[in-house]
Structure formats: structure tokens, C-alpha cells
């Protein structure tokens, strides 16, 4: 597919246009190409060529800064829209961002953005004094620069509740003032590095840094700048950097709304080691420090371990004899990955698409949270065809590039890394041990008792906000309403007295599950509306639901409510909770294609008995134990 074919689809108003537009947009290398794709998109809209997928609600993005934001806004809008997130844009005037934020009556505030993107002027990020001034003086100035940016972000967030995206500063690329630059905070080079570091390290959760310093470094400092474009039309950077910047902003916006991938399923032969273990034998495969190729495979394995430590679940999906495939994991001295690093190990002769499906159902995860990696194009193609929800990565011909390929795929980037991410593999492993126990204990009640479960229920607290938002944005199956909320929105709920939001953490004798269930209730008179109720599927059938309901009833009564009202909003993924409220004793009141409403009267409600020991309840101090 090339541009001319895309144009032909547009001229024939063929809806296939949109899929090809997405593919070409993802692979576009230069500014002109991306730009042209964007104008084709606008022409398609003008010709009423509609996509087959139903349009999502538009996200409201305000762009402001110390530069002309035209045509940057165009590219950001394009990338977001082809990825399925159309934008409603508001663009600030050239270099008017400070007053747009400080003035309560500015267009920024009447626009009511969901996300604000701010590109501050680098000409204000300088030390005005002498290179030889006292360092304390220079540092105080850098701190003031950081504080004033943080203050702008804080104000914009406070007024709009929007997530804020803020770029940091590109570094200079000219030699002046020579080697002395690194011996003083007064040089632009050191001053901006310092400001960038401080900005990133002191940013609050609602503030997302768009790392322009990194992007320019990645592209090359000289290629990132374009003085003529500044003089002619006040552009922030070269066209080459602008497409990287637009993609980065889009990535940040999308990551607010889109869950990261959870599982990385790996092929074995020529993916984790060189050669074919069933043919070459344990001694014949290339792995380890004795050859450059073997070193490259080992480095790839080390990178995979680092992903695991970040919370990515690793799995094996290989066409192989199970015993032969397992041998390197058990016996090869240079294997970095071990059997216990894998949450699932499929080595057999079934199609890989089927193995991935089986894995998904074992792990209780959607196929769309899977990434599959293979060096064989035929295997990749089978997965693309028969398990299209899975994201695939076809490894290139050189194992030296494997790490770069995965590291640039941007599929496993944490937003705000939570300590619970790192715990997840051990949780899943403990889960399978638990299932073994479950099989051996015949009586469910004595099984639950033997787990020695303990729960802590907490009202929403600032320290939990990243994890709360993460779970709210990625839970699909046990999620009654699938209402997504950014960190800023969770904070807004936390601070609104109309709302009661709480979460439950669960541990048992096999391990700590972390934060696994969230409820948001909104009080209206004597009714508590259950706006959100979700739970991690790892703890299904553990009486967590009952204990969470007990808490909802307790909190509602404490606020003088006489009834709980629940609603189920169907999605392709949450069928499992269609009758959840019914099972919990609620009465169905209304039913339609798009929603089912339930009510539970609280006057006669008795807390449901469970085997979970609750050591703390929401809005209460820790109980003495």
C-alpha cells in the first residue's frame, strides 16, 4: 500500500481507507509524508467517508505555548485520530500561554479541556546574569524557572481538572561558550539540563513531562533545530523533530486512556537463542559470551528480565517438543531466563494462535493485552490472521537489534511505575499454587478458610491515585460500568464530598495481591449510586465481592442512605458481571440493550458472611489487632 493507492481509496470513498491510513501513519518517516496523510484524512472527512468503527467521544485538547503551534497541532490531531481518539482542539495564540493560564476568563478555561499541552519558550529558560556569578545565585534562578512552570501547570490543573502535558527544554547545539559550559550553571547547556532534571523529579502526578530534551538527543541535536523556521514562522524545532514531538504528545495522550500490554509471549528458537534446540542440541545452540551472536541473545534475555521486573508477564509460545524446549531453561548455563520467570509455557505443535488463546483464558486476561514475538514471518502471519487482537512483533534478521526493536515498540511503558507492578508475576505464580490447593480441598468453605485472607479497605488517598487510575483504566472483565478515569479525575472524585470512593487490598498466605477492587459511589439524597465497581479477576470467587458490598452498604448507611443503586453497562468484555447485582441480592428495576439497573434496599440488609478478615475499613483509623 502506498500513497497513490490510499488516494484511490479516498476517491472511491472506500472505508478501507481508514485502516490503510493508520498503517501508513505509523510507518511514515518524514514530515511531508505525515503531513500529506493528515490532509488526506481531512479530505476524507470533508467527503463524508466514514470509518467502519463507531467514533469515540472527542477528547478535548488545549495546546498552548511560546511558539507557533501551527502546524504541530495538525500532526498531533492526525496521529490521535487515526489511533481512534479524535480530538476537539483549542489552540492558544503565539506566546500567550502565561496569560491564557493566569486569566480566569481566558478562552482556555471556557474551552474546558480534558488535557492541556504546554510548550514553554526556551528563550525564557536562560540565566540572565554572568557565567561567573555565584552558583547559589544561578541555582536560585533555575529553581525559580522550574517553580514558575510548575505553578502554571498547577493552576491550569486546578482550574480545569485536566491532565497537563509539559515539554521540557532542548539543549543548545553550538560550541559557544566552549568547554567552560559544563563548569557553570550559568551556561544555557547546564542551566537547561538542571531545569529539565528538576522539572521531571518534582512533577506531581497530573503533570506529564514530554521529554523534548530526550527526543532531540535521540534525533541528533543539529537535526532537531531549524533557525530559519523560527524566524519565518516561530516554529519550535525542525520538521524532523516536529513529527517526533507530535508522536510523543499523542503517545502521552493515548496512554492516559489506553492500558499498557500485560503479557509478552515469546518464541524460542532464534528468538531467545540462536539455532534450533531440537536439531542442534543443548550444546549446539548459540547463547552466551563465547560468540558475538550468543552474547546478543543473552543481552536480549537480560532485557526481557528487566521487563519482567517492571511487571510484564513473560510466557513461551513455541512450536517444539516440550521436553526439548524446556531443556535450555533447566540446564543451559548461559540461560538468563528461567522456568519460573514464565507465567505460561506452551511448547507443542498446535497453531500459535490457539496457544495464545489458551494462555489468555488460563491467565484470565484479554487477548488484546498480549504481545507476541517471533523471528518467523509465517508464525506472525498466523497469529495476525487467527488471533488479530494480539499485537505482534516480527523480529528483524539481526539479534543485535532485538532489544532496540522491543524497546522502541512502546508497548510496555509504565506511566507511573507502581511497586505493585513488580509484584505481579509472583502474584500470578501464587495463583496457580492456589488453584492446585483448590483442587485438593473439596469443600470450598474450608479452602477459603485455609487461605487466611486479610483485607484492608481504604478511602481514596493521594498515595494510591496512580494505582487507582491504572486499575480503573485497564479492568475490562469484572467492571460493571467501564468508566475510565485519569489520575486527575480520580483526585477530583477523592476531593468531592458527594462521592465515596474506596479500594480493597487483599493478602493471603500465598502472597500479597495488592489493590484489587475499587468502588465509587455517588450520593443523591437517600440513594447511593454505584458509579464504578470493578475487581481484578485474579481474586474471583474469593468472597471479595461480598466484603466489598458489605462496605458499600455500611458507608451508605453511615451517610443516611436507604438504598444502593447499581447499573450494568454491557461491553464486549464484561459479560461475566451481567447478573452480578442479581447474584448479590439486588432487584432488577429496568432493563434495555444498553443498561440494566438494580436496587438494593438497606433497611433489612445484613452483612454477608465471608472468610476474609477486614483489618481496616474506609474512612476509619487502623483497628487494634
Amino acid at each position: 500500500m502506498d500513497l497513490n493507492q490510499l488516494k484511490a481509496l479516498l476517491l472511491h470513498t472506500d472505508p478501507g481507507f481508514w485502516d490503510h491510513l493508520k498503517t501508513l501513519t505509523r510507518s511514515a518517516q518524514d514530515f511531508e509524508e505525515l503531513f500529506l496523510l493528515s490532509s488526506l484524512r481531512k479530505k476524507a472527512r470533508a467527503r463524508k467517508l466514514v470509518s467502519l468503527k463507531p467514533p469515540r467521544e472527542k477528547l478535548r485538547l488545549a495546546i498552548l505555548g511560546g511558539y507557533s503551534l501551527y502546524p504541530l497541532h495538525e500532526l498531533i490531531e492526525h496521529v490521535c485520530e487515526v489511533e481512534g481518539f479524535p480530538l476537539e482542539l483549542w489552540r492558544g495564540d503565539y506566546d500567550n500561554y502565561i496569560s491564557e493560564i493566569m486569566d480566569d476568563h481566558s478562552g482556555l478555561y471556557s474551552f474546558a479541556p480534558d488535557v492541556v499541552f504546554m510548550l514553554p519558550a526556551e528563550r525564557r529558560c536562560i540565566y540572565a546574569g554572568k557565567l561567573t556569578d555565584a552558583r547559589e545565585l544561578q541555582a536560585a534562578d533555575a529553581r525559580r524557572t522550574v517553580d514558575s512552570l510548575l505553578e502554571l501547570a498547577r493552576r491550569a490543573n486546578e482550574k480545569t481538572r485536566a491532565e497537563i502535558i509539559l515539554t521540557n527544554f532542548m539543549l543548545p547545539v553550538r560550541h559557544d561558550p566552549g568547554a567552560f559550559r559544563s563548569r557553570t550553571l550559568g551556561s544555557d547547556w547546564t542551566f537547561r539540563k538542571w531545569v529539565n532534571l528538576e522539572l521531571g523529579l518534582s512533577a506531581p502526578p497530573y503533570l506529564h513531562l514530554c521529554d523534548l530534551e530526550f527526543l532531540a538527543h535521540r534525533l541528533g541535536g543539529l537535526a532537531a533545530r531549524d533557525e530559519r523556521a523560527w524566524f519565518e514562522s516561530k516554529q519550535p524545532c525542525s520538521p524532523a523533530l516536529m513529527i517526533e514531538l507530535a508522536r510523543e504528545v499523542a503517545q502521552l495522550i493515548l496512554s492516559l486512556k489506553r492500558a499498557p500490554k500485560k503479557v509478552l509471549a515469546l518464541d524460542l528458537d532464534n528468538t531467545l537463542w540462536g539455532g534450533v534446540v531440537a536439531d542442534d542440541g543443548l550444546d549446539g545452540i548459540e547463547l552466551g559470551d563465547t560468540s558475538p551472536r550468543g552474547e546478543a541473545f543473552k543481552a536480549f534475555q537480560k532485557y526481557l528480565v528487566s521487563l519482567k521486573q517492571r511487571g510484564v508477564l513473560l510466557a513461551v509460545c513455541s512450536k517444539n517438543d516440550l521436553a526439548r524446549a524446556a531443556e535450555p531453561f533447566e540446564k543451559h548455563p548461559d540461560m538468563v531466563l528461567k522456568m519460573e520467570d514464565m507465567v505460561s509455557f506452551k511448547a507443542n505443535w498446535e497453531p500459535k494462535s490457539e496457544n495464545l488463546r489458551a494462555m489468555a483464558s488460563e491467565l484470565n486476561l484479554g487477548l488484546d493485552s498480549f504481545v507476541f514475538v517471533d523471528d518467523n514471518p509465517a508464525e506472525i502471519d498466523i497469529v495476525r490472521q487467527f488471533a488479530p487482537e494480539v499485537t505482534t512483533i516480527l523480529l528483524g534478521p539481526d539479534p543485535a537489534d532485538y532489544v532496540a526493536q522491543l524497546a522502541d515498540s512502546r508497548l510496555f511503558e509504565p506511566r507511573n511505575l507502581t511497586s505493585e507492578d513488580a509484584e505481579r508475576t509472583s502474584q500470578y505464580r501464587a495463583d496457580s499454587q492456589r488453584k492446585t490447593l483448590e483442587a485438593s480441598v473439596t469443600d470450598m468453605a474450608s479452602y477459603l478458610q485455609s487461605l487466611e485472607m486479610e483485607a484492608v479497605i481504604s478511602e481514596f488517598a493521594p498515595v494510591d491515585v496512580p494505582r487507582l487510575s491504572q486499575l480503573i483504566n485497564k479492568s475490562n472483565q469484572f467492571n460493571l460500568t467501564t468508566r475510565r478515569r485519569s489520575e486527575a479525575e480520580v483526585t477530583a472524585v477523592m476531593n468531592d464530598p458527594e462521592y465515596a470512593g474506596y479500594s480493597m487490598r487483599l493478602k493471603d498466605r500465598f502472597g500479597d495481591h495488592g489493590l484489587i477492587s475499587i468502588v465509587i459511589g455517588r450520593q443523591a439524597g437517600e440513594t447511593m449510586h454505584l458509579d464504578t465497581w470493578l475487581m481484578s479477576c485474579r481474586v474471583l470467587k474469593r468472597q471479595v465481592e461480598e466484603e466489598v458490598l458489605n462496605e458499600a452498604a455500611r458507608l451508605a448507611k453511615a451517610r443516611g442512605c436507604t438504598r444502593l443503586q447499581g447499573v450494568y453497562l454491557p461491553t464486549p468484555k464484561n459479560e461475566m458481571v451481567r447478573d452480578f447485582y442479581g447474584r448479590m441480592g439486588f432487584t432488577l428495576t429496568t432493563e434495555s440493550e444498553t443498561k440494566r439497573e438494580f436496587v438494593l434496599r438497606l433497611d433489612n440488609f445484613q452483612p454477608l458472611p465471608t472468610m476474609i478478615k477486614v483489618t481496616r475499613r474506609a474512612y476509619e483509623p487502623l483497628q487494634q489487632t
Partner: protein, 81 residues
């Protein structure tokens, strides 16, 4: 390269850029082509600089009033060592 040859090469760039074909002549200017707005213009300059391997100086492109003058500017810049 003479003006006609430059315009012929510009034609292929324009064909790529615009959905509706535009026949370029020396007297055509941006106001004659509905799709030629200031956004397209930026993208067009990047394409032209790449195709002809030239670098315009600050402010000079906006002084060219039509395709003919623009082609002359390209010739002037390609003649430079």
C-alpha cells in the same frame, strides 16, 4: 536546468500533494489553488528542498509571487556551488 524543466519537476511534487490535479504554469499562484493553504505550503517547501537539494534563505520563498518566480529562485539556488 531551465524554468520549464523545474516546473515539470515541481508538477510531480504538486501531484503528490494535492488530491485535485493542478496544471502548473509560471503564472499560477497559491490563491489559484484551493488546496494550497499555509499548512500545505510548509510541507511543500520541505518537499521541494529535498527534491532539488537546495536550502532557501530566510524569508525569500514568501517573496516569490507565483510558480515562475519560485522556479527562478530554485534555479538560482541550484546554481550555487
Amino acid at each position: 536546468m531551465n524554468q520549464a524543466e523545474v516546473i515539470a519537476k515541481l508538477q510531480t511534487i504538486f501531484d503528490n500533494l494535492f488530491l485535485e490535479p493542478v496544471a502548473l504554469t509560471p503564472s499560477v499562484s497559491a490563491k489559484d489553488v484551493p488546496e494550497w493553504d499555509s499548512l500545505t505550503h510548509i510541507s511543500m517547501m520541505v518537499s521541494v528542498e529535498k527534491a532539488f537539494n537546495v536550502r532557501f534563505r530566510v524569508g525569500e520563498v514568501e517573496n516569490a509571487k507565483n510558480v515562475g518566480e519560485f522556479a527562478d529562485l530554485i534555479i538560482k539556488r541550484t546554481m550555487e556551488p
